[in-house]
């Protein structure tokens, strides 16, 4: 079992529009409402701009958001 499984882009090869370099799979810490999540996401190695793949945004991240925000 990989400790930090990667969330890759749903399709295609992505370039950072600002730096014009390919995104790399890098470890990122995502914070939301006092919770931190260590994940590996496509990220620009120069400026740090990070892509959240659509499947992740619509899937697990949305579920986590619903859990944290529900009242």
């Amino acid at each position: 079992m990989a400790l930090d499984p990667e969330f890759k882009p749903d399709h295609g090869d992505w370039l950072c529009a600002v730096c014009n370099v390919p995104l790399e799979q890098l470890k990122v810490q995502v914070f939301y409402m006092n919770s931190a999540f260590d994940v590996v996401l496509p990220r620009c190695p120069q400026c740090g701009m990070t892509l959240i793949p659509e499947s992740l945004a619509n899937g697990k991240m949305a579920e986590v958001e619903a859990l944290l925000e529900d009242k």
Binding site: M1, A2, D4, P5, F7, A17, V18, V28, Q29, V30, F31, Y32, M33, N34, S35, A36, F37, D38, V39, C47, G48, M49, T50, I52, E54, L56, A57, N58, G59, K60, M61, A62, E63, V64, E65, A66, L67, L68, E69, D70, K71
Partner: protein, 456 residues
């Protein structure tokens, strides 16, 4: 000792004043002096015991977010230009639309001063309010409020109007009387698109109902909770907390709420605020501050929850609320697993990335994707792989196994802090479409004059 500076209003003439948080022993007071009406002060934070200190809590962790398209110009300064203006420092998490001023109760305490008669806007006006809210705030959450919304016969149609516009969550603020007494009513609302009921529920006690609601109505409220469960509606129990009336019952209320099961999603405590209608002199109000509620919950719950579990909000101003999300364990709670928000929202912060470096359209798309799935997925059981941090979190806190405990302190003419109002994310939608922070909308002076409610 001076703890912090802000601005407030004179409770008599509502002019803007410099104000000071001053510590006297184990309490922090908001103090201000009107050149015409003299000195005023009110306790806002009593931090004796194992609770966060005022200065630590007030720092907070929230990230300001300014309106993308301010609806009004800054002319007189906060809080006299609400609409929202360019200086407002938080987006809308929940937009409130008051669909009627009528109510089936006439509570001694009511910020809206509702009663048996009152104005109800036309469906066309409500549609325009919803459109204005969506234009300003996108797919935020919407709460239908009042008055008592179920007094309107066309409430299912209004729920459907809200659901069809794509708001993240459609919630009903209700006293529960009609939900508990009319067969199939909860189901009709659910079928119209309602997601959640924000249910007035002060304690499992008819004596408390009598004191705070003017009559005994516990049976109706219990029936309302069952009707919501049967209809598939989530329920948040909303407890108005009054010193000497139900503050000693907090632990019992919490245990009872948790034991109901997963349809009761949480307990939300609102220490009573003195605006609108209230049965005491403003300066003699029985104030109970957030850290006192933290302590009471810890002591009265026999350790089920602890003051250290609670987080300051990352959305509204830190002085306005606290919360914790727990994993359920049998009929109790186990470890806290996070913090809740005032309600929905859609922000996410990725470390080291400046907000402006995310293309606006992409940010907006991600937000919409988030909120689109907000509630629908919340009712699904998860089967995570456990391979990543998100999955591990989900496996520990599946929908059926969590409970949210939160409290929100509203502001009145003595405790009003303009910095808190600027950080507010709960906005009442005026009939002309302006968005007004909740406490500014409901504020009344010592003489009963409103800043916004009932004014053009």
């Amino acid at each position: 000792m001076l703890e912090a500076r802000t601005q407030s209003l004179c409770p008599v003439c509502l002019r803007r004043l410099d104000a000071f948080y001053v510590r006297e022993g184990e309490a922090v007071f908001l103090c201000k002096t009107c050149p015409e009406h003299g000195e005023f002060k009110a306790p806002v934070w009593r931090d004796n015991g194992e609770v966060p200190l005022f200065a630590d809590w007030r720092k907070g962790s929230r990230i300001p977010a300014y309106p993308a398209r301010p609806a009004v110009e800054v002319r007189h300064g906060c809080p006299f230009d609400c609409g929202l203006c360019a200086e407002h420092a938080q987006h809308t998490c929940t937009g409130l639309i008051e669909v009627t001023q009528r109510c089936s109760l006439r509570c001694p305490i009511c910020f809206a001063r509702s009663g048996r008669s009152g104005h109800a806007p036309s469906p066309e006006t409500i549609a325009r309010q919803m459109d204005a809210l969506f234009a300003a705030s996108g797919s935020c959450n919407i709460q239908l409020s009042g008055g008592e919304p179920t007094e309107r016969e066309d409430l299912p149609d209004i729920v459907a109007m809200a659901a069809s516009r794509g708001f993240g969550l459609v919630q009903l603020n209700s006293n529960g009387l009609r939900l508990g007494t009319e067969e199939n009513y909860a189901r009709r609302l659910r079928e119209a698109g309602l997601d959640s009921v924000y249910l007035q529920f002060d304690a499992v006690s008819d004596e408390v109902c009598l004191a705070l609601r003017g009559r005994k109505c516990l049976d109706e409220k219990l029936a309302a909770i069952e009707a919501c469960r049967d209809a598939g509606l989530g329920v948040v129990l909303v407890c108005t907390l009054v010193r000497g009336v139900n503050d000693g019952l907090l632990g019992d209320t919490l245990r009872w709420a948790v034991a109901q099961g997963q349809h009761v999603r949480g307990l939300h405590i609102q220490p009573v605020s003195s605006f609108g209608r209230f049965p005491w002199e403003l300066e003699a109000a029985p104030r109970i501050t957030l850290p006192e509620i933290m302590t009471a919950l810890e002591v009265q719950s026999s350790g089920m929850v602890h003051a250290a579990d609670f987080h300051a909000p990352s959305c509204e101003h830190s002085m306005c609320s606290f919360s914790a999300v727990y994993a359920r364990e049998g009929e109790g709670l186990s470890a806290p697993i996070g913090a809740a928000c005032c309600s929905g929202g859609s922000g996410v912060k990725v470390e080291d990335v400046q907000p402006q470096s995310i293309d606006n359209a992409e940010g907006s798309r991600i937000s919409r994707a988030f909120t689109a799935a907000h509630w629908r997925n919340a009712t699904q059981e998860n089967t995570p792989s456990l391979h990543d941090a998100f999955s591990r979190f989900l496996s520990q806190s599946g929908t059926a196994r969590r409970f949210t405990l939160s409290a929100m302190a509203f502001q009145d003419a003595l405790s009003f802090d303009i910095e808190r109002v600027r950080g507010c994310c709960i906005h009442v939608v005026h009939e002309d479409g302006r968005l007004v922070p909740f406490c500014a909308y409901n504020l009344t002076s010592l003489g009963g004059v409103s800043l916004y409610r009932g004014r053009p």
